[in-house]
Protein backbone atom coordinates (compact mmCIF):
# COMPACT_ATOMS: atom_id res chain seq x y z
CA UNK A 1 0.00 0.00 0.00
CA UNK A 2 1.08 3.53 -0.74
CA UNK A 3 2.32 5.80 2.01
CA UNK A 4 2.29 9.58 1.91
CA UNK A 5 5.71 11.15 1.43
CA UNK A 6 7.81 10.96 4.54
CA UNK A 7 11.33 11.70 5.64
CA UNK A 8 13.37 8.89 7.09
CA UNK A 9 16.34 8.89 9.40
CA UNK A 10 18.20 6.05 11.08
CA UNK A 11 20.01 7.33 14.15
CA UNK A 12 22.47 5.05 15.90
CA UNK A 13 22.05 6.50 19.40
CA UNK A 14 19.26 7.70 21.66
CA UNK A 15 20.83 11.16 21.62
CA UNK A 16 20.66 11.33 17.84
CA UNK A 17 17.10 10.05 17.87
CA UNK A 18 16.01 12.63 20.42
CA UNK A 19 17.66 15.39 18.45
CA UNK A 20 15.60 14.40 15.42
CA UNK A 21 12.36 14.05 17.39
CA UNK A 22 12.83 17.38 19.13
CA UNK A 23 13.67 19.18 15.91
CA UNK A 24 10.40 18.25 14.19
CA UNK A 25 7.12 17.82 16.07
CA UNK A 26 5.85 15.89 13.06
CA UNK A 27 8.54 13.27 13.59
CA UNK A 28 7.56 9.89 14.98
CA UNK A 29 9.66 7.05 16.26
CA UNK A 30 9.50 3.92 14.09
CA UNK A 31 9.92 0.78 16.16
CA UNK A 32 8.79 -2.55 14.66
CA UNK A 33 6.36 -0.76 12.38
CA UNK A 34 3.75 -3.49 12.68
CA UNK A 35 1.14 -0.90 13.69
CA UNK A 36 2.48 2.46 12.53
CA UNK A 37 3.21 1.38 8.93
CA UNK A 38 -0.33 0.03 8.60
CA UNK A 39 -1.90 3.24 9.90
CA UNK A 40 0.27 5.10 7.40
CA UNK A 41 -0.97 2.85 4.58
CA UNK A 42 -4.51 3.98 5.36
CA UNK A 43 -3.11 7.52 5.52
CA UNK A 44 -5.22 7.87 8.64
CA UNK A 45 -2.13 9.36 10.26
CA UNK A 46 0.91 10.63 8.45
CA UNK A 47 4.07 11.60 10.31
CA UNK A 48 6.37 14.05 8.53
CA UNK A 49 9.41 12.05 9.54
CA UNK A 50 10.10 8.51 10.66
CA UNK A 51 12.94 8.11 13.11
CA UNK A 52 13.91 4.45 12.77
CA UNK A 53 15.02 3.05 16.11
CA UNK A 54 16.21 -0.25 14.66
CA UNK A 55 19.82 0.96 14.52
CA UNK A 56 20.04 1.85 18.22
CA UNK A 57 21.63 -1.00 20.15
CA UNK A 58 21.11 0.62 23.57
CA UNK A 59 17.35 0.20 23.05
CA UNK A 60 17.61 -3.55 22.63
CA UNK A 61 18.24 -6.48 24.92
CA UNK A 62 17.01 -7.95 28.18
CA UNK A 63 18.92 -7.81 31.44
CA UNK A 64 18.13 -9.65 34.62
CA UNK A 65 19.32 -7.91 37.80
CA UNK A 66 20.34 -9.70 40.97
CA UNK A 67 17.02 -8.92 42.65
CA UNK A 68 15.18 -10.50 39.72
CA UNK A 69 14.20 -7.21 38.18
CA UNK A 70 13.99 -7.37 34.41
CA UNK A 71 15.19 -4.45 32.33
CA UNK A 72 13.91 -4.71 28.78
CA UNK A 73 14.94 -2.52 25.90
CA UNK A 74 11.82 -1.22 24.13
CA UNK A 75 13.20 -2.39 20.78
CA UNK A 76 13.26 -6.00 21.92
CA UNK A 77 11.00 -8.04 19.64
CA UNK A 78 8.27 -10.39 20.82
CA UNK A 79 10.26 -13.27 19.37
CA UNK A 80 13.32 -12.24 21.36
CA UNK A 81 11.26 -12.12 24.55
CA UNK A 82 9.75 -15.54 23.78
CA UNK A 83 13.24 -16.97 23.28
CA UNK A 84 14.96 -15.16 26.12
CA UNK A 85 16.26 -17.10 29.12
CA UNK A 86 16.31 -13.91 31.22
CA UNK A 87 12.67 -13.14 30.41
CA UNK A 88 11.69 -16.46 32.00
CA UNK A 89 12.16 -14.60 35.28
CA UNK A 90 8.64 -13.26 34.59
CA UNK A 91 7.22 -16.22 32.62
CA UNK A 92 3.96 -14.51 31.68
CA UNK A 93 5.83 -12.11 29.37
CA UNK A 94 7.02 -14.79 26.98
CA UNK A 95 3.74 -16.66 27.19
CA UNK A 96 1.69 -13.64 26.14
CA UNK A 97 4.18 -12.49 23.51
CA UNK A 98 3.91 -15.94 21.91
CA UNK A 99 0.17 -15.34 21.39
CA UNK A 100 0.57 -12.07 19.50
CA UNK A 101 -0.47 -12.35 15.84
CA UNK A 102 2.00 -14.52 13.92
CA UNK A 103 5.67 -15.37 13.43
CA UNK A 104 6.37 -12.53 11.01
CA UNK A 105 4.80 -9.92 13.30
CA UNK A 106 6.55 -11.35 16.35
CA UNK A 107 9.86 -11.17 14.49
CA UNK A 108 9.50 -7.42 13.91
CA UNK A 109 7.06 -6.12 16.51
CA UNK A 110 8.57 -4.77 19.72
CA UNK A 111 7.45 -4.48 23.32
CA UNK A 112 8.07 -0.73 23.18
CA UNK A 113 6.02 -0.29 20.04
CA UNK A 114 3.18 -2.36 21.48
CA UNK A 115 2.86 -0.33 24.68
CA UNK A 116 3.46 3.04 23.01
CA UNK A 117 0.81 2.40 20.36
CA UNK A 118 -1.61 1.42 23.12
CA UNK A 119 -4.21 0.27 20.64
CA UNK A 120 -7.06 -0.88 22.92
CA UNK A 121 -6.80 -4.38 21.43
CA UNK A 122 -3.09 -4.79 22.20
CA UNK A 123 -1.97 -7.56 24.55
CA UNK A 124 0.86 -5.84 26.37
CA UNK A 125 -0.58 -2.63 27.85
CA UNK A 126 -2.77 -4.47 30.38
CA UNK A 127 0.01 -6.98 31.01
CA UNK A 128 2.78 -4.49 31.76
CA UNK A 129 0.34 -2.55 33.92
CA UNK A 130 -0.52 -5.70 35.86
CA UNK A 131 3.09 -6.68 36.50
CA UNK A 132 3.85 -3.16 37.70
CA UNK A 133 6.30 -2.16 35.01
CA UNK A 134 7.98 1.22 35.09
CA UNK A 135 8.90 3.18 32.01
CA UNK A 136 12.07 5.18 31.47
CA UNK A 137 11.38 8.10 29.17
CA UNK A 138 14.21 10.21 27.80
CA UNK A 139 13.60 13.79 26.74
CA UNK A 140 15.55 16.99 26.35
CA UNK A 141 15.63 17.37 30.15
CA UNK A 142 17.02 13.91 30.80
CA UNK A 143 15.26 10.72 31.80
CA UNK A 144 12.11 10.45 33.88
CA UNK A 145 10.63 7.27 35.28
CA UNK A 146 6.87 6.75 34.94
CA UNK A 147 4.86 4.02 36.64
CA UNK A 148 2.43 1.97 34.52
CA UNK A 149 -0.61 3.63 36.06
CA UNK A 150 0.50 7.00 34.67
CA UNK A 151 1.92 5.73 31.40
CA UNK A 152 -1.21 5.13 29.31
CA UNK A 153 -3.06 8.33 28.40
CA UNK A 154 -5.31 7.34 25.53
CA UNK A 155 -5.67 5.46 22.30
CA UNK A 156 -2.28 5.83 20.58
CA UNK A 157 -1.31 8.21 23.38
CA UNK A 158 1.12 7.56 26.24
CA UNK A 159 3.35 9.51 28.63
CA UNK A 160 5.98 9.44 25.91
CA UNK A 161 5.34 12.91 24.53
CA UNK A 162 6.57 14.70 21.42
CA UNK A 163 10.36 14.91 21.45
CA UNK A 164 10.62 12.02 23.89
CA UNK A 165 11.65 8.39 23.65
CA UNK A 166 10.90 5.29 25.70
CA UNK A 167 14.34 3.94 26.56
CA UNK A 168 13.72 1.15 29.05
CA UNK A 169 10.99 -0.91 30.63
CA UNK A 170 11.71 -2.42 34.02
CA UNK A 171 9.63 -5.20 35.49
CA UNK A 172 9.97 -6.49 39.04
CA UNK A 173 10.38 -10.18 39.83
CA UNK A 174 7.33 -12.33 40.24
CA UNK A 175 5.59 -15.41 38.96
CA UNK A 176 2.02 -15.07 40.26
CA UNK A 177 0.66 -13.74 37.00
CA UNK A 178 -2.19 -14.62 34.67
CA UNK A 179 -3.54 -13.48 31.35
CA UNK A 180 -6.85 -14.31 29.70
CA UNK A 181 -8.35 -13.11 26.46
CA UNK A 182 -11.14 -13.78 24.02
CA UNK A 183 -9.69 -13.24 20.57
CA UNK A 184 -11.01 -13.02 17.05
CA UNK A 185 -9.79 -16.43 15.93
CA UNK A 186 -6.78 -18.20 17.44
CA UNK A 187 -3.97 -15.74 18.22
CA UNK A 188 -6.22 -13.06 16.71
CA UNK A 189 -7.15 -9.53 17.67
CA UNK A 190 -8.27 -9.27 21.28
CA UNK A 191 -12.00 -8.72 21.73
CA UNK A 192 -11.33 -8.34 25.45
CA UNK A 193 -8.45 -9.29 27.67
CA UNK A 194 -7.37 -9.20 31.28
CA UNK A 195 -4.06 -9.51 33.04
CA UNK A 196 -3.67 -10.30 36.73
CA UNK A 197 -0.85 -10.30 39.23
CA UNK A 198 -1.04 -11.60 42.79
CA UNK A 199 2.50 -10.88 43.82
CA UNK A 200 1.59 -9.16 47.07
CA UNK A 201 -1.74 -7.46 46.52
CA UNK A 202 -4.22 -8.61 43.89
CA UNK A 203 -3.97 -6.45 40.80
CA UNK A 204 -6.16 -6.88 37.73
CA UNK A 205 -5.92 -4.86 34.54
CA UNK A 206 -8.61 -4.96 31.89
CA UNK A 207 -7.95 -4.37 28.18
CA UNK A 208 -10.20 -3.42 25.23
CA UNK A 209 -12.76 -1.79 27.51
CA UNK A 210 -11.58 1.82 27.46
CA UNK A 211 -9.05 4.19 25.94
CA UNK A 212 -6.50 2.97 28.46
CA UNK A 213 -6.05 -0.28 30.40
CA UNK A 214 -8.37 -0.21 33.42
CA UNK A 215 -6.76 -1.14 36.73
CA UNK A 216 -8.91 -2.73 39.40
CA UNK A 217 -7.73 -3.88 42.81
CA UNK A 218 -9.89 -6.65 44.27
CA UNK A 219 -9.83 -6.98 48.06
CA UNK A 220 -9.00 -10.66 47.67
CA UNK A 221 -8.27 -13.22 44.97
CA UNK A 222 -11.50 -15.21 45.25
CA UNK A 223 -13.90 -15.13 42.28
CA UNK A 224 -16.51 -13.03 44.10
CA UNK A 225 -14.08 -10.34 45.19
CA UNK A 226 -12.69 -10.13 41.67
CA UNK A 227 -16.16 -9.92 40.10
CA UNK A 228 -17.18 -7.29 42.61
CA UNK A 229 -14.09 -5.23 41.87
CA UNK A 230 -14.71 -5.35 38.12
CA UNK A 231 -18.37 -4.41 38.58
CA UNK A 232 -17.21 -1.61 40.83
CA UNK A 233 -15.09 -0.20 38.02
CA UNK A 234 -18.27 0.97 36.31
CA UNK A 235 -17.04 0.01 32.86
CA UNK A 236 -18.74 1.50 29.80
CA UNK A 237 -16.77 -0.20 27.01
CA UNK A 238 -17.19 0.71 23.37
CA UNK A 239 -19.31 -1.64 21.31
CA UNK A 240 -18.16 -2.62 17.84
CA UNK A 241 -18.63 -5.22 15.16
CA UNK A 242 -16.98 -7.87 17.35
CA UNK A 243 -18.67 -7.18 20.66
CA UNK A 244 -21.46 -5.10 22.12
CA UNK A 245 -20.67 -2.89 25.10
CA UNK A 246 -22.59 -5.29 27.36
CA UNK A 247 -20.69 -8.28 26.06
CA UNK A 248 -17.33 -6.60 26.65
CA UNK A 249 -18.43 -5.68 30.17
CA UNK A 250 -19.35 -9.30 30.78
CA UNK A 251 -16.10 -10.61 29.26
CA UNK A 252 -14.07 -8.24 31.42
CA UNK A 253 -15.56 -9.87 34.49
CA UNK A 254 -15.11 -13.46 33.29
CA UNK A 255 -11.59 -12.89 32.00
CA UNK A 256 -10.55 -11.08 35.19
CA UNK A 257 -11.60 -14.13 37.20
CA UNK A 258 -9.72 -16.48 34.88
CA UNK A 259 -6.58 -14.36 34.88
CA UNK A 260 -6.61 -14.22 38.67
CA UNK A 261 -7.17 -17.98 38.98
CA UNK A 262 -4.11 -18.60 36.81
CA UNK A 263 -2.13 -16.04 38.77
CA UNK A 264 -3.00 -17.68 42.06
CA UNK A 265 -2.08 -21.10 40.69
CA UNK A 266 1.28 -19.79 39.47
CA UNK A 267 1.94 -18.00 42.72
CA UNK A 268 1.36 -21.20 44.66
CA UNK A 269 3.17 -23.48 42.21
Amino acid sequence: MLLREVEYAKPSSVAEALALLVADDGARALAGGQTLINVMKARAASPDMLVDLNGIDELKGIELAGDGTLSIGPMTTYSEIVGSAEAKARPILGEVCAQIADVQVRNRGTIGGNVCANDPTNHLPPLVAAVGATFHIAGRDGVRVVPADEFFLGVYLTAVGPGELLTRITIPAGKGDGFAAVTLGADGTCIANAAASVNGSVRVVLGCVDAVPVVVSPAAADDESVRAAVRGAGLRPPGDVHASSDYRTHLAEVLAVRAVRTAVERAGG
Binding site: M40, A42, A44, P120, G154, V241
Partner: protein, 153 residues
Amino acid sequence: MNVHGDRMFAAPRAIVWQVLNDPSAMAKTMPGVESFDVHDDQHWTANVKIPLGLGGLRMKIEMHKSEEREPEFAKMAIKGTGVGAMLNMETSFTLGEAPGDATSMAWSAEVKIAGPVGSMGQRVLQPIVNQQVQHVLGALEQQVQEALGPSAA
Protein backbone atom coordinates in the same frame (compact mmCIF):
# COMPACT_ATOMS: atom_id res chain seq x y z
CA MET B 1 -22.33 8.03 17.61
CA ASN B 2 -24.04 10.20 20.21
CA VAL B 3 -22.15 11.68 23.15
CA HIS B 4 -23.82 13.83 25.79
CA GLY B 5 -23.51 14.92 29.37
CA ASP B 6 -24.08 17.56 32.03
CA ARG B 7 -21.58 19.91 33.59
CA MET B 8 -21.63 22.54 36.29
CA PHE B 9 -19.73 25.80 36.08
CA ALA B 10 -19.05 27.92 39.14
CA ALA B 11 -19.96 31.03 37.20
CA PRO B 12 -23.08 32.98 36.29
CA ARG B 13 -24.91 31.92 33.16
CA ALA B 14 -24.11 35.18 31.38
CA ILE B 15 -20.39 34.50 31.70
CA VAL B 16 -20.67 30.93 30.45
CA TRP B 17 -22.86 32.08 27.58
CA GLN B 18 -20.34 34.74 26.70
CA VAL B 19 -17.47 32.21 26.62
CA LEU B 20 -19.41 29.71 24.60
CA ASN B 21 -20.19 32.36 22.04
CA ASP B 22 -16.77 33.93 21.86
CA PRO B 23 -14.92 32.38 18.92
CA SER B 24 -11.50 33.27 20.29
CA ALA B 25 -12.34 31.60 23.61
CA MET B 26 -13.78 28.55 21.84
CA ALA B 27 -10.66 28.34 19.68
CA LYS B 28 -8.67 27.79 22.85
CA THR B 29 -10.86 24.84 23.81
CA MET B 30 -10.36 22.88 20.60
CA PRO B 31 -7.61 20.26 20.38
CA GLY B 32 -4.63 21.05 18.19
CA VAL B 33 -5.88 24.30 16.73
CA GLU B 34 -3.36 25.70 14.26
CA SER B 35 -5.38 28.60 12.89
CA PHE B 36 -8.81 30.06 13.47
CA ASP B 37 -10.87 32.52 11.41
CA VAL B 38 -14.15 34.21 12.28
CA HIS B 39 -16.25 35.10 9.25
CA ASP B 40 -19.29 36.35 11.15
CA ASP B 41 -21.15 35.48 14.38
CA GLN B 42 -22.58 32.42 12.68
CA HIS B 43 -19.57 31.12 10.76
CA TRP B 44 -16.09 30.17 11.95
CA THR B 45 -13.43 28.00 10.39
CA ALA B 46 -10.39 26.39 11.99
CA ASN B 47 -7.48 24.26 10.94
CA VAL B 48 -6.74 21.67 13.56
CA LYS B 49 -4.33 18.80 14.00
CA ILE B 50 -6.01 16.32 16.29
CA PRO B 51 -3.27 14.61 18.28
CA LEU B 52 -3.37 10.89 17.56
CA GLY B 53 -0.04 9.79 18.90
CA LEU B 54 0.89 7.99 15.70
CA GLY B 55 0.82 11.33 13.92
CA GLY B 56 -1.72 14.11 14.06
CA LEU B 57 -4.87 14.02 11.96
CA ARG B 58 -5.16 17.31 10.07
CA MET B 59 -8.67 18.68 9.49
CA LYS B 60 -10.31 21.81 8.22
CA ILE B 61 -13.24 22.48 10.52
CA GLU B 62 -16.20 24.67 9.53
CA MET B 63 -18.59 25.72 12.24
CA HIS B 64 -22.03 27.13 11.65
CA LYS B 65 -24.24 28.28 14.49
CA SER B 66 -27.63 27.24 13.21
CA GLU B 67 -29.79 28.19 16.21
CA GLU B 68 -29.40 30.42 19.24
CA ARG B 69 -31.67 31.51 22.11
CA GLU B 70 -29.66 33.73 24.39
CA PRO B 71 -28.86 33.04 27.13
CA GLU B 72 -29.77 29.37 27.36
CA PHE B 73 -29.58 27.51 24.07
CA ALA B 74 -27.39 27.23 20.98
CA LYS B 75 -26.97 24.65 18.25
CA MET B 76 -24.04 24.23 15.92
CA ALA B 77 -23.29 22.27 12.80
CA ILE B 78 -19.62 21.32 12.55
CA LYS B 79 -18.11 19.91 9.38
CA GLY B 80 -14.56 18.66 9.28
CA THR B 81 -12.73 17.58 6.17
CA GLY B 82 -9.37 15.86 6.23
CA VAL B 83 -7.72 13.27 4.06
CA GLY B 84 -8.11 10.44 6.55
CA ALA B 85 -11.58 11.40 7.64
CA MET B 86 -14.77 13.38 7.19
CA LEU B 87 -16.44 14.67 10.33
CA ASN B 88 -20.04 15.79 10.64
CA MET B 89 -21.22 16.91 14.05
CA GLU B 90 -24.49 18.37 15.30
CA THR B 91 -23.96 19.75 18.77
CA SER B 92 -26.12 21.77 21.13
CA PHE B 93 -26.09 22.96 24.72
CA THR B 94 -28.67 24.23 27.14
CA LEU B 95 -27.58 26.48 30.00
CA GLY B 96 -29.60 26.57 33.21
CA GLU B 97 -29.18 28.74 36.30
CA ALA B 98 -28.12 26.74 39.33
CA PRO B 99 -28.08 27.76 42.98
CA GLY B 100 -25.06 29.75 44.15
CA ASP B 101 -24.79 31.73 40.93
CA ALA B 102 -23.60 28.58 39.19
CA THR B 103 -24.55 27.40 35.71
CA SER B 104 -25.55 23.95 34.54
CA MET B 105 -24.84 22.92 30.99
CA ALA B 106 -26.57 19.99 29.32
CA TRP B 107 -24.75 19.21 26.10
CA SER B 108 -25.04 16.61 23.41
CA ALA B 109 -23.32 15.87 20.15
CA GLU B 110 -24.21 13.57 17.29
CA VAL B 111 -20.87 12.68 15.73
CA LYS B 112 -20.53 11.10 12.32
CA ILE B 113 -17.10 10.11 11.07
CA ALA B 114 -16.51 8.83 7.56
CA GLY B 115 -13.44 7.89 5.56
CA PRO B 116 -10.62 5.49 6.48
CA VAL B 117 -10.70 6.67 10.08
CA GLY B 118 -14.45 6.03 10.13
CA SER B 119 -13.68 2.41 9.42
CA MET B 120 -11.17 2.10 12.26
CA GLY B 121 -13.88 0.66 14.44
CA GLN B 122 -15.78 2.01 17.41
CA ARG B 123 -13.44 0.35 19.89
CA VAL B 124 -10.83 2.84 18.71
CA LEU B 125 -12.98 5.81 17.68
CA GLN B 126 -15.31 6.02 20.67
CA PRO B 127 -12.51 6.36 23.20
CA ILE B 128 -10.82 8.95 20.98
CA VAL B 129 -14.02 10.99 20.70
CA ASN B 130 -14.74 10.76 24.42
CA GLN B 131 -11.20 11.83 25.13
CA GLN B 132 -11.41 14.87 22.83
CA VAL B 133 -14.73 15.83 24.40
CA GLN B 134 -13.22 15.69 27.89
CA HIS B 135 -10.39 17.84 26.59
CA VAL B 136 -12.84 20.44 25.28
CA LEU B 137 -14.88 20.51 28.49
CA GLY B 138 -11.74 20.86 30.58
CA ALA B 139 -10.50 23.71 28.46
CA LEU B 140 -13.95 25.28 28.60
CA GLU B 141 -13.85 25.23 32.39
CA GLN B 142 -10.56 27.08 32.19
CA GLN B 143 -11.94 29.69 29.79
CA VAL B 144 -14.88 30.30 32.09
CA GLN B 145 -12.53 30.78 35.02
CA GLU B 146 -10.45 33.23 32.99
CA ALA B 147 -13.58 35.09 31.95
CA LEU B 148 -14.53 35.44 35.61
CA GLY B 149 -11.26 37.28 36.00
CA PRO B 150 -8.87 37.33 38.99
CA SER B 151 -11.70 38.34 41.27
CA ALA B 152 -13.09 34.84 41.04
CA ALA B 153 -9.79 33.25 41.84
